[in-house]
């Protein structure tokens, strides 16, 4: 058994030294891959064993069975599972945020040729040429479903009534767009840049345009695992924090990261699909190109990794808004029980990473609404476009 010193200088026993970590092949799996690649795991007395998964639901199932100890996972999936949406409720845990930003919404080339290349022009086209429009996301409670819904609604399009919203695995998005099965999709990278490279889609919006510096993937596990293996969890968070800091330290490090994660065992794609956007260099397929102010961030001096309670609560407000929850949960209580803030603070101290003092942060989203986490039930009820079924308490 390995021993490690905790921040107080006391020796702590690592309960489980081999940690099985699941990830889906996406650009934002980089920090868990690099933690193992660069040996930050060994530095903290653990060994990360990576397991490439093909679906979010099986990541969840394997966290439940213990086949995976922790995983690179959708923020919303953790809360969906906690609240029993789609499966029996189970107590889940968010150990840290893995990244911010770096997702997008792609519209088909055909739509772009008809003049729809952003939210407003899409709404105009849908009014002008009525038919069934189909949009895909990756998981019913996932971040991409929430970004897509939010973006459509911000432009006056009801995501559950005006369009057909479907679930398609990320790796099949480009194929389905080529086949003309859908008009657009929201997923992680590198699939949007890939659609651009293949000339079949345009980037109508980045997810950071919907919510600048939004939370994206988390390092998630079950609460049972945290309770039985607190020191393993601390070591794991410290290792991934160090990898996150390393990736964000320079463009050179980002290039090396892209090189490694493009390989077959990880994202399994051409480096050219990953590289521009991990460096913040965007083009939209319509002759627009820019250096993004809010590109995918893995660290940002710890700001990107801190599991803000307001981030967790936001997903619950959107579940309520879209009828996935039929009543308001106790937002703050659920977020506090899922988010392992104390454990995060201790791990951050081990890795020498700064920790914000507040637990809520303030953001302004694409529709001009401000989210600061202080009155989630009111926020959830404040949207003119929604699918709230029944009244609270039903």
């Amino acid at each position: 058994m390995h021993a490690q010193c905790n921040p107080a200088g006391a020796v702590m026993q690592i309960e489980k030294t081999t940690v099985n970590i699941g990830f889906n092949p996406l650009t934002d799996c980089a920090s868990v891959v690099m933690a193992a690649m660069l040996g930050f795991d060994e530095k903290h007395g653990i060994r990360i064993v990576l397991s490439r998964e093909t679906s979010w639901a099986s990541v969840r199932d394997k966290l439940m069975t213990g086949e995976l100890d922790a995983a690179h996972v959708l923020y919303g999936l953790v809360y969906g599972t906690q609240l029993g949406i789609g499966a029996q409720p189970r107590d889940m845990a968010v150990l840290m945020n893995l990244n911010r930003n770096g997702q997008a919404i792609t519209l088909s080339r055909r739509l772009a040729e008809q003049g729809a290349n952003d939210g407003a022009s899409l709404a105009a086209l849908m009014a002008r040429e009525p038919r069934q429009y189909v949009f895909a996301q990756t998981f019913p409670t996932g971040t991409h479903a929430m970004w897509l819904h939010y973006w459509l609604a911000a432009h006056g399009i009801h995501p559950l009534r005006d369009v057909r919203a479907i679930t398609v695995p990320p790796s099949q998005m480009v194929y389905n767009l080529v086949e003309g099965h859908m008009d657009g999709f929201c997923a992680g990278e590198p699939w949007h840049h890939q659609a651009l490279l293949e000339g079949i889609g345009v980037t109508a919006a980045t997810s950071q345009q919907i919510w600048p510096d939004h939370p994206e993937k988390v390092l998630g596990t079950s609460l049972d695992f945290v309770r039985a293996h607190p020191n393993t969890c601390r070591a794991l968070v410290a290792a991934v924090l160090e990898a996150s800091r390393w990736i964000d330290a320079s463009d050179e490090n980002r290039r090396a990261t892209a090189e490694i994660i493009a390989a077959v065992p990880y994202v399994n794609t051409d480096k050219a699909a990953i590289l521009p956007r991990i460096l913040g260099r965007y083009e939209n397929g319509m002759k627009g190109a820019w250096q993004d102010e809010h590109p995918m961030r893995f660290h940002q001096d710890g700001q990107a990794n801190y599991p803000w309670l307001s981030d967790g609560m936001w997903f619950m407000t959107q579940f309520r808004r879209w009828g996935l929850l039929k009543a308001d949960p106790d937002y703050l209580q659920v977020a506090q029980s899922v988010t392992q803030l104390r454990l995060y603070r201790e791990a951050a101290e081990m890795a020498g990473v700064a920790v914000p003092t507040d637990v809520l942060r303030t953001s302004t989203l694409v529709d001009g609404r401000t989210w600061d986490g202080t009155d989630p039930a009111r926020y959830a009820a404040s949207f003119p476009i929604h699918q709230r079924s029944g009244s609270a308490g039903n």
Partner: protein
């Protein structure tokens, strides 16, 4: 049940369903007398097809990314759930049990012999029905508890405002409920709403 179970098999979109696992399953379903109504690719048509076919059970490859499409169906049909059985390579009994608890009705391990399929599916279906029953009971109990709280608060209000005894307050609520043809909890809620309104 006199009717045969109608089953839909879901396979990865870019593969045929001719894998060994699928072949064993076909054979087993035939032997067991189940009706395989369709073998569907897990593509974007899947939710529509499931809605059209209304199968009694869905069988899917657990390792396939089609699982997320299926999750969409599970979430979209939350109010009329059906059992889902999955193939997996994981033959660990404890992880199967945990998965079943997590909402999956059964895990069928690779290399399963055709003759084992009927008992496995029967157990899965039985478990599913039992779970659904427990779930409904739990929801009923929660609802009843919530209703009792409302009635208690309304009783308390009548007692403090109008000096009634607990028994009188309860009789008053019951009479009002009967006269207005409403449930006790509904009339109690109205009283509380009025109190809120008038302060």
């Amino acid at each position: 049940m006199s009717r045969h179970l109608r089953i839909v098999l879901v396979h990865p979109p870019h593969e045929s369903d001719a894998s060994q696992r699928a072949a064993a399953l076909h054979a087993g379903l035939n032997e067991a007398g189940y009706v395989l109504v369709a073998s569907l690719p897990a593509d974007f048509h899947l939710p529509e097809e499931i809605a059209r076919l209304q199968p009694d059970m869905i069988i899917v490859d657990a390792e396939s990314d089609a699982r997320d499409v299926l999750e969409h169906i599970v979430v979209a049909t939350r109010d009329e759930r059906r059992p889902i059985v999955m193939f997996t390579e994981d033959d660990n009994q404890s992880s199967m049990d945990a998965a079943i608890e997590a909402g999956v009705s059964a895990y069928i391990v690779a290399g399963l012999k055709p003759e084992r399929i009927k008992p496995v599916l029967s157990v899965a279906l039985a478990r599913f029905r039992k779970e659904q029953k427990l779930l409904h009971e739990l929801q009923d109990t929660k609802l009843k508890l919530a209703e009792r709280k409302v009635v208690d608060r309304a009783k308390g209000l009548l007692m403090s405002r109008h000096g009634m005894t607990e028994d009188q307050a309860y009789q008053r609520l019951r009479t009002m409920a009967m006269n207005k043809n409403l449930k006790l909890a509904e009339i109690a809620q109205r009283i509380l709403d009025v109190e809120d309104l008038l302060g």
